[in-house]
């Protein structure tokens, strides 16, 4: 029964929206003038001589100003009273902190209905323009800072140029194998692949499922997975690969041979693997390499020296440097002062 009444009421509202056209100047403007202008008008000068700015940057004394909205956003969305704060804030409960007008009694039902209908009917101002100025702009867009300029992002942008996007079918196939796949930077066709929290169930077979994405993959995190030297053959086909993480895998010298042709490779993480000086031999031609991580490997000083000689621009991250500490160093507990 109650529902029926509501339905009928809704029908009645719809009907009235179609029927009586709300004239802005005669029905809405007087309400704004009487109840809103005192705070939302052109900047005034207070009795103390200091300027008073319109509250929230919102002016309601001109068509352009109303359409501009507050400093934060639009207040009128033509056709959508529910999304228009010029209406929605006036119908909040009287004691609501955001209710408008914030001072004095709430608007009457007739007044709020006039505003609602006017917006629902498209927020037509008729011939009224009011105070000149104001324009619709998104304050947000003005605030956007310049994009980060870093050599890595520039490099990735250049590398991604002309690369076709991966097909949804190929993406699906890799995801079904457990891969988490994202564009390496927003909007780029190049892909970053990881196996977050599924590392233990990822092996050579799953890695092979990435093969159809070989043209797009630029980052692969295989850390802690079960991939083996044999599996790295799939990686060899990733011609745009710039970043490869093999930390804490069973990869050894034999596997590194597969990386020989990865001419774009910038970063190679071999932390906690069993690679030796001999395996590094396969990497000596990777002149793009910027960082290589060799902590907890079997690489010796001699191997590092050779790498330094051939790859003079590569940062070689060899190990953890333990801080030097006095034997009597404090432990964080404050000495009690006597």
């Amino acid at each position: 029964m109650g529902l029926l009444v509501e339905l009928l009421a809704a029908v009645a509202v719809v009907a009235s929206e179609q029927d009586a056209k709300v004239d802005f100047e005669s029905r809405v403007l007087p309400v704004l003038k009487e109840r809103c202008f005192s705070c939302h008008e052109a900047g005034k000068t207070g009795s103390d001589g200091k300027p008073i700015k319109p509250k929230a940057g919102l002016r309601l004394d001109g068509k352009g100003w109303i359409l501009r909205g507050s400093d934060e956003r639009a207040v009128v969305v033509p056709g959508e009273p529910a999304k228009s704060r010029l209406y929605s804030l006036t119908v909040l409960p009287a004691d609501h902190e955001d209710r408008m007008p914030s001072k004095g009694d709430p608007l009457t039902k007739a007044q709020t209905e006039a505003i609602r209908l006017w917006i629902a009917q498209g927020a037509n101002f008729g011939s009224w323009t009011g105070a000149a100025g104001g324009k619709v702009e998104t304050p947000a867009a003005a605030a956007a800072p310049p994009p980060i300029v870093s050599s890595r992002l520039t490099m990735l942008e250049a590398l991604g140029r002309g690369i076709p996007s991966a097909s949804p079918a190929n993406l699906d196939r890799a995801r079904r194998a457990g891969a988490t796949i994202e564009p390496v930077i927003p909007g780029s066709p190049l892909l970053a692949v990881s196996f977050v929290s599924r590392e233990g169930s990822i092996g050579d077979k799953e890695l092979a499922e990435l093969a159809p994405l070989a043209a797009q993959i630029t980052r692969v995190d295989l850390g802690k997975t079960k991939v083996t030297d044999g599996g790295l053959a799939s990686v060899a086909s990733f011609t745009k690969l710039t970043w490869l993480d093999l930390h804490e895998t069973s990869v050894s010298d034999a596997g590194l041979a597969a990386l020989k042709g990865l001419s774009e490779l910038r970063s190679l993480n071999l932390f906690h693997t069993s690679v030796t000086d001999e395996g590094l031999g396969a990497l000596l031609g990777l002149t793009s390499l910027e960082d290589i991580y060799l902590r907890e490997t079997k690489v010796t000083e001699a191997g590092i020296a050779k790498l330094e000689e051939k790859l003079s621009k590569t940062d070689i991250h060899t190990g953890f440097e333990a801080p030097k500490v006095d034997p009597g160093a404090p432990t964080g507990k404050r000495k009690k002062k006597k």
Binding site: S88, A144, I148, S197, Y293, P323
Partner: protein, 427 residues
């Protein structure tokens, strides 16, 4: 062994931080806001994925740490030490860190408007000032909201050794709140199956409980009700996950634990590294005791070696594992301390006008200083960085859209870092 009470406590903690079930009525944060606004925030190119946020609670003196004024009357007994970065001097109590300054950007021109602890900490964490009518999200909550959780089995936001500084999800759903870890060495407590309950017994009980809940959930299909059901699923997933090991420092070699220092802060930094490694996006570690109204210089002899050891170990550990590249390490505080020394007690008082913070990794160019104070350390004279600016810089590194508006349940618009301008030149 986990008794019934502690299991409940775990579940209720987990519910609060994982799923947005809290003591407070659920606020209709992001989901609703995004429904209203359509598409989620478009991310921008980023240089960092994760954050380790080291918070020096109490107000870290800038003159005795990273903004030295040798020869000035305000310097007091603190001595300056050259570092491996040209022109960067730090306290002589930080000799290990001096060898890592090539990884660090020092910001010497921080400026806050808040001079009391609670207000200052809140402002630094949220970019908004503390007020009675609304709670704002902390940076970790913003990151998880806009950047998403990376590891589905672990919370995206963890706070170690603190929790008193007002870091919360604010008006967002409480699933964005930090999971608090009191003692890093104890890890995540109450998170394993009671040893007296066999796996299948546990599953049967859970299934029975859920069967009973289903009728209720069907009748009351609301977010709060669903959240409790989901919470059981998530808690069980976490309990059974190998990722739970991320919280267990016993998995680290003793030598490495020693290298970070046995202090709670040192162990907290090590735990932070483990969590970041497991794709937790934002980890805060707090070190308290910086409120040096009395005996400021004596306190430095205690506090700084702890920071020196822990932060040096953290930077070296992250770097040699290939993690520093994408992890932004931030060290900050709620305000600095008066350059003028209160001589009768050799102390320094609160000073929000000028103070220092650090950023390292995550695309930040190390070995540089940004901003400058005058000869006494009292006034910022170059490149002032406000608290919103500082947080905007963090957000910028993470690719979070600074202009994306999220509405509170009451319809008010908020942005990450409250219109702060990022310091783009440190990248």
């Amino acid at each position: 062994m986990m008794d019934d009470l502690s299991r409940r406590r775990f579940l209720s903690n987990a519910a609060m931080s994982l799923l947005g079930v809290g003591g407070l009525p659920l606020l209709d944060g992001l989901a609703a806001a995004q429904e209203k606004q359509g598409a989620p925030a478009p991310l921008r190119p980023a240089t960092a994925k994760n954050v380790i946020y080291l918070f020096m609670s109490g107000g870290m003196t800038h003159l005795d740490t990273f903004d030295l004024k040798p020869g000035a009357a305000t310097q007091g007994p603190t001595e300056a030490l050259k570092t491996n970065a040209d022109g960067v001097q730090i306290s002589s109590h930080l000799p290990n860190l001096a060898r890592h300054m090539d990884k660090i950007a020092v910001i010497n021109s921080l400026n806050s408007t808040q001079g009391a602890h609670a207000q200052g900490q809140y402002f630094m964490h949220t970019s908004y000032t503390l007020r009675g009518t609304i709670k704002h999200p902390t940076m970790g909550a913003w990151l998880n909201l806009m950047g998403g959780r990376q590891n589905p089995n672990l919370p995206g936001h963890v706070a170690i050794g603190g929790g008193s500084n007002g870091a919360s999800a604010g008006f967002l759903e409480s699933k964005y709140a930090p999971l608090p870890i009191g003692d890093p060495a104890a890890g995540l407590q109450d998170s394993t199956r009671a040893s007296g309950v066999a796996g299948e017994v546990f599953d049967r009980r859970l299934e029975r409980a859920q069967a009973m809940n289903r009728a209720f959930a069907a009748e009351h299909d609301q977010k709060e009700v669903r959240a409790y059901t989901d919470m059981y699923d998530e808690a069980v997933r976490l309990m059974n996950s190998k990722d739970l090991e991320a919280f267990d420092l016993r998995k680290e070699p003793d030598s490495l634990r020693q290298a970070y220092g046995t202090s709670s802060f040192g162990q907290g930094c090590l735990l932070a590294r483990r969590l970041i490694e497991n794709k937790v996006r934002f980890v805060e570690v707090e070190q308290g005791g910086w409120d040096t109204h009395n005996e400021n210089f004596e306190a430095m002899e205690d506090k700084l070696p702890v920071i020196d050891q822990a932060l040096s170990a953290l930077l070296s550990d992250l770097d040699s594992r290939g993690l520093l590249d994408e992890t932004l390490v931030v060290l900050t505080t709620e305000f600095g301390r008066t350059p003028k020394i209160v001589t009768e007690r050799m102390g320094r008082n609160h000073y929000p006008k000028a103070f220092s913070g650090l950023m390292a990794g995550g695309g930040v160019r190390g070995g540089q200083k940004y901003g400058k104070t005058d000869a006494t350390g009292e006034e910022v004279i170059e490149n002032k960085v406000t608290v919103p600016d500082f947080n905007a810089t963090i957000a910028y590194a993470l690719g979070l859209p600074l202009d994306h508006i999220v509405h509170s349940p009451s319809g008010r618009p908020f942005t990450v870092a409250d219109k702060g301008k990022p310091v783009t030149t440190i990248f």
